[in-house]
Every structure is written in C-alpha cells, then in structure tokens.
Subunit: 353 residues, 2 copies
Amino acid sequence: MKNVKVILWGLGAMGGGIGKMLTKKEGVDIVGAIDIGAKLGKSLYDVVPGIERGNREDVIVGTAEDVIKPGAADIVVVCTDSFTSKVYDKLVFVMERGMNVITSAEEMAFPQAQEPELAAKLDEIAKKNGVTVLGTGINPGLIMDLLVILWTGACETVDHIVSRRVNSLSPFGPAVMEEQGIGMEVEEFNKKKADGTMAGHVGFAESVGMITTALGWKLDKFEQDMEPIVTDVDRKSPYGFAKAGQVAGVAMKGWGYVDGEMKIEMDHPQQIEPEQVGVHTGDYVEIKGIPPVNMCNTPEIEGGIGTMAMILNTIPHVINARPGLKTMIDIPVPRAIMGDMRDQICEECKIVK
Amino acid sequence: MKNVKVILWGLGAMGGGIGKMLTKKEGVDIVGAIDIGAKLGKSLYDVVPGIERGNREDVIVGTAEDVIKPGAADIVVVCTDSFTSKVYDKLVFVMERGMNVITSAEEMAFPQAQEPELAAKLDEIAKKNGVTVLGTGINPGLIMDLLVILWTGACETVDHIVSRRVNSLSPFGPAVMEEQGIGMEVEEFNKKKADGTMAGHVGFAESVGMITTALGWKLDKFEQDMEPIVTDVDRKSPYGFAKAGQVAGVAMKGWGYVDGEMKIEMDHPQQIEPEQVGVHTGDYVEIKGIPPVNMCNTPEIEGGIGTMAMILNTIPHVINARPGLKTMIDIPVPRAIMGDMRDQICEECKIVK
C-alpha cells in the first residue's frame, strides 16, 4: 500500500505543528501545503518552525487551486478557522475534488449544534463525493465530551454530568493571549463580552450537543456564560502578562437542559499561571448515575499538542469511515499511532492507491 | 422502525441482569431466552430475580434449537462462559442462523490474543453470514484497555503505560468468591496456581493485545502472574469470608513487551473489603508520553453493573457495524442509552424490519 498522502491547509501554530508531527511518523507523506501571503511559494520546510525535511521531496506552499486536485492526496487537514461558517467553503472545495477532510475548527466538532443547515449540506456533499469530513481536537473533541461519553458506556442510567477542565494558558502564544483577554482591564472585558466580541472557549454548544446526541437525550435548552478571572497578583507567562486587578483568564460555564432539568454542567476556567494562586489544574468527569463516576486527570492534558495529536491520530479513521459528515461519536476511539500509519488503513478506502 | 429484538442466551447473574436492565429501556424487546436445566419451560419473568414483566408478552425459556431461528431477533446476548473455546460453538450457531451476537466471555474481548485461529474463523463466518460478533464488558472491554487507548488519542508518542484497577470483590456472589479463592489457605492457593486451576482475572492478554494492536505496537512477549492477597485481619463480605492468614483476594500483574522493552504494565488487585485494611479502590491510567496522562477514578467503577451496561449499550453498535468479528477498538465509543434504542440504529442494518 502506498503511504498515506496528506495535504496541509493552513500552516499556523496548529497546522504547522501537525506537519512537524507527521514527519516523525511512518507510512505517511505530506504531499502539499496551502497558505496565504508571505508563505506562498516558499518551502514548507522553511515556513514551519522546527520541522525537518530529511530526505523528503520538497513541498512548495501554494494556493488551494494549485494544490487541491483530484487524486492528489487521501486527506486534507484544514487548520484555518474556529467557526463552521468560516471554514465551510474550504471543506466543500476539498470534498468536491474527491478528498477526505479533517479540520481543527472547534464548531466542526459537532456542527449540528450551531449550524444544522451547513452540517446537513456538508453531509450531503460528502456523500455525493464518496468522502468523509470530520472536525476534532482536544476540546471540543475529547476531554469535555468524548471522554465523558465513554464513561457513560459503563452506566445503566445517567442522571447528571459535570464536565470540568481547569487548565493553564501559559504554554500558548500571543493569539490565544489576545483571544482570552489576558492583561485586559475588567471594564474592557465586560464591554467585549456585552457586544459579543469576547471569544472565550469555543466548543461548549458542540460538546453538549455531542453528549446529548450520543446518550439519546433531547436537549431543551443550552446556555453559557463567561466571567473574567481577575488576578490579585501580577502573573507572567512566556507570552502573557496580567497585572494585579487585570484579567488573567476566562471562566466559562455552560448548562444543558433535558426534560426541563439541568443535566449537564460544563465548567472550564482557563488562565495563565494558575499554580501561582494555588489553582490545581486538571480534567474532571463527575457522573451521577448507576454506577457513578468520579474521574480526574491531573494536571490537565496539554491542549496544544493534544489537539495536534487528535487530528493526526484520527486521519486513518476519517479515511476508513463510510462517506458523510462524521463526529467523534461516529468513529472508533482515537489512539496514538505508534507504528506505520498504513497498518490502520483499510485498503479499499484509500484514495491514492 | 420496529423495536430492537433481543434474545438472551444464559440467564445467570450476568445474562439475567442484562435482561432486567433491558426491560427498563425504550425501543427494545426481549423476544427469546435460552438456558438449561430447571429454568427450561419456565417464564423468563419468573426465572430472573427482580425483573418485571409489566404488560409484556411472556417469554418462555427454551433450548437454542427452539429459540434461535432465522429472523427471530436482531441480536443474541450470550452470557454463558469466560473462554473463547467454550463459547465458540454458540456464537457460530447464532451467526449461521443470520443474527448478530454479543458475548460477555472475557477472552472474546480480543480473541486474537489467545485464540487467533478461532478469531479468524469467527470473522470468516460472520462475514459469510453478513452479521457481526463482539465480546465486551467492563474489564476487559473498557477500564484497563479502551479507556487507556482513548487517552493515547491525545498523545504524539507513548513510551510506557500503567493500567491499574484496584477493586472490591465485596458486591459479588458465591461464584466469584470461589473463583478468586476467597477464604482459601495460602497453600491451597499456591497449589491451584501451580496446576493452572486458579482462575484469577481473565483478560490481561486480551487487554494488552487490544492496546498494542490499537497503537500499532508489535507485541514481543506477554507475561502475567498472580499472588494471593493474604489478610492480617478477618474480613467478611456478604458472600465471602477470609480469616486472618487466609486469602482475601488475588493480585494479578501483567507485562507487555514491545521491541524488547516492557511498555505496558497491568496491575489488578481484587479483594473483599479493601477499605478495612486502608486500601483505596480506583481505576488508574498512567501514560509516560507526550503529553503525559495521570488519571484516576475513585472509587473504581462497579464491575457487575458496569459489564451489564457495557453489553446493553453496545447492542446498537454491533447491529450497525459492517459484518465480521469486531472488538471495542473497531466500533464507536460505548455510551449510556438514555433514549429510545431505535434512535441509535441504522435502519438498513436492522434484521427484524
């Protein structure tokens, strides 16, 4: 079987990081790369920090029209946006050229939640072209949803779920610092929250949608809120700084109601340097049910590498899946690919034979 | 869509318990029951403790020949044995009559590990008959294998895995007390261990096989050992008793070697009344990798209900799967079925239309 052929669309921290990871795996080749601006026309191996070319053939960064051609690859990894509406045209462009596609766009982890019409269209276009489209990452995609769902597999009944991720933003770069309001004054945070420009975590609606759909609960209502985490002391991370009295992070909460009862509680405080103020980070799943579950993972699993790994590790599942829009509840559990990626691929599902 | 139709083969603690659980779910009917001896000819609802018939049609316990007829059900739940070789004929009997089959037999969670020839035959027979066969339970099937695999999905690399389950045997009945040597003298335990008649936990070879296969590791060697847990104080559980100096449980350990290195460590001490001697029960996953994982679930998730739930909750996945022998790494994650079971079924895969 030929190596798995991958095209990277978007070479930022996420897409570039996946590229770097892919070069360390067996049975898989990067055969194309797409980006915009100054990266165009340069070598992938010059554009992505820390990636090693070794003996590989060079890959020159091109436009989508140059790179996405029928039969060019088994799958395209799209890491350009967070929202389904923003990434939609790219996903369609890939699928209409007969390739599978996987994306880090958070809303695409369960696009049925906030974009049911686009989700239906993506499913239709995927089936028409005999390919598969999936969105995934560490969260949404694993920690606050799929992991919870897996635990319920051992339950006769589930009455109430708490899904909590208490994490540090310190490893992240300038873009995340800005998105999460690190170093903002509280007044500015509240203004941005009020006018809807404060992003916070994108994914609660998707995680709650995934959990309720998996369990067969009809979701009556979903609500979320965010509060600034105001620091009492100066906090400094490699790319962030919050003076005492400023915003050091965002505490997101979400609630899913089923049959008029609040059944799912999402709790996700993200901040820089939590240890400095005695906050212990971790991932938590608490299920009231028969039997109950009381899980923690401390410290929290790292989000940046975790998301790259989740995308890389689900490449075989996406290639193997029946055509259509898939989410993490439709495919087998993700797993670290420690051997040859081709060992995980069903030959008849491969595009580049 | 018609309700999902289920036949129960084996009405002991496990099969009967699954039957009782099924009567509390929507969209699913028990349409047949098979057992031997005094249960034959009686009503399922008289034979299984605590099950409620309600308005349901009666189900009379019959022989396999009476009950397993083409088109009689979508799936048969076989809870009669622990070993692949013992349950093999029953699985074939069902599949040759065109029905899917799921079993609690521990070795069937990954029969490729210890019975590769039977596993290949089961896969062939399943495909020939267009049906699916799966073995599952809480362990093997979830806690010491699938859960570990799920966590690795967020890892770029995995160097070493510890999978630990420290559980209480106190909720279990007389059969488990005997299997696990509760109340035995140490000398007798060692004699039975030496002559291979001390069962201990069945499943390490299967869990290690599942993990290595999922990750693409080539397993060089698998070893396991068991030691008696000798109590310093008298311990009494509802069905078990161990005097000071006697066996209160079995500590199983297992090791999986990859490329000459011990990569997977399995650790599973099971005993009655662990709290009495200060042992805290729980489920643990420790992964040395990038990133690392350090998970615990305390106390451990209950094994009896957990296994029944796992089997019930994977019924839709087995019906929906492509034909063949499947294991938990081939199908979507298990989840509690809290709505109508038919909502989880793909119509074209249903047998009883």
